[in-house]
Amino acid sequence: MSIIIKTDRTHNFEQGIKSSEITSESAYLNRREFIKQSGLLAGAAWAGGLSLPATAGDSEYGNDFKGLIKTPYGKGESLTSFKDATTYNNFYEFGTGKKDPAANAQQFVTDPWSITVEGEANKTGTFHLEDILKHAQIEERIYRFRCVEAWSMTVPWVGFSLADMLKRFDPTSKAKYVEFETLYDPKQMPGQKRRVLDWPYRDGLRMDEAMNPLCFMAVGLYGRDLPNQNGAPIRLVVPWKYGFKNIKSIVKIKFTEHEPVCTWNVTGPKEYGFYSNVNPNVDHPRWSQATERKLGTNFWEPKTKTQLFNGYAEQVAHLYKGMDLTKYF
């Protein structure tokens, strides 16, 4: 497989030892097995603690993560159906139609997978996903997801805190921003055969945004492994920003001093700003951002009013204090 990066820079996550020195590739735990185990351990640690039932769609839940910790995030939200959340996707690497990713991503190979960490951090290198997950507390969070195209959904993601992961790379004081990059592999990602976007897909966050506890690295949804069309094996979820900031199938994380290049920003600088916070008061040239249509609602059902920062203002508004949000959109 072309994805695995077999260089000497493949480090073990914490000790900084070349992983090839400790375990052979074949000896790696199957990732699914691995997550199940870690979930189980974490679940045991939380025994007697929080265990909130999902509000809807229980029958659509999978069981890929045994003993999955349910968190209070999104308690009481009614969920988008699993089918809608996994058949209506913007993932241009697999085609620009909403149904294309579900149709074209089924053969996508996500195991093995590694992520290269670069830039202003002390622990850089290429890490196997298993090594990253080993340290992660896998939990479920229900988040609202708002696309810039004025549709929205509510999804029970499975994953872990972005901040927890970033801290382990030990970013230096020069790290003002963090940039993410999606895999570039036109053989597997047919959408990349045409230059619809400036591949590879890139996006980024300001460091303080990235360290906000809401930022989430998702490896699953509805208790199942992340479907390929939703950004397998690992994607970003930043619930107060428009969907395209939630970069999928991440292979690179780079800490930088300067604002990183973001694919949609390059494609349409007047339409897609670096921040791209959900904001009903900042209009978009194509779509009114005042309202949104929840996936699965029918013709006669009204649209929903969009909330500032997608309803997460309490947790994130302080990040943008004193900033003119119409200028820094």
């Binding site: 988008t80 159906s81 089918k83 809608d84 058949t87 209506y88 241009y92 620009t96 909403k98 149904k99 195209e149 549709w151 045409r194 619809v196 976007l197 494609t267 349409g268 209009d283 040239p285 194509r286 009114s288 249509r293 996936l295 699965g296 029918n298 013709f299 009204p302």
Partner: protein, 223 residues
């Protein structure tokens, strides 16, 4: 042997002529084409009633009707060239019907936007039309199609005489604006509107070349 071949050729040609000339003249043919043109409409309406238009049915329907509006404009524009190139005179009988179907799909495209996207909120609709250039242009297309639909009757044709032809040349700028509308609402992938633009360019280019040639012929006749 030779005669046999000729007979075969004559029979074949007869069959061909029948398909080409007489079949379209049969009484059921026009209603059949009419029903065919209604198929996309039926597809979206039944899809809506049976909840089979996907997670975002409103978007599916509005886009679908808009697509078909453009397809019918292009089909309508290809009738005259096809008639001349393939010598199919009867095709002209279908031009009005196809044109009116283009108008029909544009109308329900606009109606479904007003109804399901804006829920008849007049203020919001006016704001949207003024503020968003691609909607402005779509709306202009709709307005420009109105006089063409109104003057599509035989009586109107007779009344307007020469001006009828002039008026109906509006369909050229309408088609260009309709594609501009499509291009402007596209986020990144211009493949489909690009293909449609290619088709439109061929159809308009054909007319342009013919006009130039006929001008040249006239000039030659004068000199």
């Amino acid at each position: 042997m030779r005669d046999e071949l000729d007979m075969e050729a004559i029979i074949k040609r007869g069959l061909y002529m029948q398909v080409k000339e007489y079949l379209p003249g049969l009484c059921f043919f026009k209603p059949l084409v009419f029903l065919l043109c209604l198929l996309p409409f039926a597809f979206y309406v039944s899809g809506a009633l049976n909840q089979q238009l996907g997670p975002n049915p409103v978007e599916t329907m509005i886009r679908g009707f808009g697509d078909w509006g453009i397809y019918f404009l292009l089909i309508g524009l290809s009738i005259s060239p096809a008639r001349k190139i393939f010598n199919l005179n009867w095709l002209i009988q279908y031009r009005r019907m196809i044109g009116l179907f283009a108008f029909f799909y544009v109308c329900i495209h606009f109606t479904s936007y007003i109804w399901f996207e804006q829920f008849f909120d007049v203020q919001e609709i006016i704001k949207d039309i003024i503020k968003r250039p691609f909607i402005t242009i779509g709306f202009v297309c709709f307005l420009m199609l109105l006089p063409l639909a109104i003057t599509s009757t035989n009586a109107m044709m007779r009344r307007l005489k020469k001006n009828w032809m002039r008026l109906h040349k509006l369909v050229y700028p309408i088609s260009i604006l309709a594609l501009l509308h499509y291009f402007m609402m596209t986020r990144a992938d211009y493949l489909v509107p690009g293909l449609l633009l290619l088709i439109l360019s061929v159809l308009l280019g054909y007319r342009l070349i013919r006009t130039i040639k006929s001008h040249q012929a006239k000039n030659k006749a004068h000199t």
